[in-house]
């Protein structure tokens, strides 16, 4: 068990594994995403209330889903950084935070554009959108702090503390925003929660969520590999690797 753990923390080991898995992640991710989106765009039936605008759901939900679960993943990695000082964990946080920011932005953007035909305005202070906006701020803070600290190790640990403080706050923020929302505007109908979604709608949705997850896996591996190279550029194994010509 401990040996496995130790191995998991070794950048060299990870680099090898990631290189082996990445083509599969990319291929399966693209395939699933393309399939899910094509199905959702062209073949799934129109929604009886919202018409065709609901087709935005096939990117809105996956990005929102991923943006939130990425923050949780970062928090797990932050615990690992602080407790076991595992190098890979802080490489993960650093590599993934900008991706999280982009996905959060995408879910906000698609939510806003979807809101226009549905609610008649670009932006509604709806509980979900507001929570996502705050998540965007949290990601922004993490990236800004990481950029501001020069020393890599200190940056990793400071960011880990911030991510953990953020993750303790996320449920509180969600709860309070929900409460605030009901206080200020009596429940309108929600964007994504439908009483029952027909199979032809949720299967493509599931496909695109899975596809985006796999693509994210590929992206995370790639960015982590880059970060590992930057950090380990003086070591023997990086030299051998680079000189052997395979990346």
């Amino acid at each position: 068990m401990w040996q496995f753990f130790h191995k998991l923390g070794s950048p060299k080991w990870f680099y090898g594994i990631a290189t082996r898995f990445m083509p599969w992640l990319l291929a399966s991710g693209l395939l699933l995403l393309a399939g899910g989106l094509a199905w959702g765009l062209a073949f799934a039936p129109a929604d009886y209330l919202q018409g065709n605008s609901y087709r935005i759901i096939f990117i809105h939900v996956p990005t929102a889903f991923l943006a939130q679960s990425m923050y949780i993943m970062m928090a797990v990695a932050a615990v690992v950084t602080l407790v076991w000082r595992m190098k890979l964990a802080d490489v993960f946080v650093k590599a993934v935070a900008p991706v999280g920011l982009v996905f959060t932005f995408l879910s906000l953007f698609t939510g806003a554009v979807w809101g226009k035909p549905t609610w008649g305005t670009w932006w509604v202070w709806d509980a979900r959108l507001t929570s996502m906006l705050i998540l965007l701020f949290l990601y922004g803070g993490v990236i800004a702090l990481d950029r501001a600290i020069n020393d890599e190790k200190s940056a990793a640990r400071a960011v880990a503390v911030l991510v953990l403080v953020g993750v303790v706050n996320i449920p509180i923020i969600k709860y309070s925003v929900n409460w605030w929302n009901t206080l200020h505007q009596p429940a309108t109908f929600k964007l994504t929660e439908k009483p029952s979604m027909p199979v032809e709608m949720w299967v493509p949705l599931l496909l695109s969520v899975l596809g985006l997850y796999l693509l994210f896996g590929w992206l995370a591996c790639l960015r982590m590999k880059t970060e590992i190279l930057v950090r380990e550029q003086k070591t023997r194994w990086v030299k051998d690797l680079v000189m052997a010509g395979r990346g």
């Binding site: 989106l37 129109a46 087709r55 935005i56 990117i59 982009v102 790639l222 000189m243």
Partner: protein, 79 residues
């Protein structure tokens, strides 16, 4: 197929601009992020290679010249 024709597919009963702009931004950002990350990966590898090559060229010599401080005044040239 949920649409009768290609033009109906593009128009989406008037919701076309919303749907397509969402998908466009999604593809631009995701693809952009993927390409940018891949290019940065390449750039870092190239950078490493260049440094290792340089090191092999100058191996044996100390890259950073070591000199003790003398605190002699520097002639200021004016032109």
């Amino acid at each position: 197929m949920a649409f009768d024709s290609f033009s109906a597919f593009i128009a989406m009963e008037g919701h076309g601009p919303y749907v397509w702009s969402c998908y466009a931004v999604f593809f631009i950002l995701v693809a952009g992020m993927m390409i940018w990350s891949a290019r940065r990966n390449r750039a870092v590898i190239e950078g490493c290679k260049r440094r290792f090559d340089q090191q092999q060229g100058t191996s044996g010599r100390d890259a950073r010249p070591k000199a003790s401080a003398t605190f002699t005044r520097v002639e200021v040239s004016q032109d």
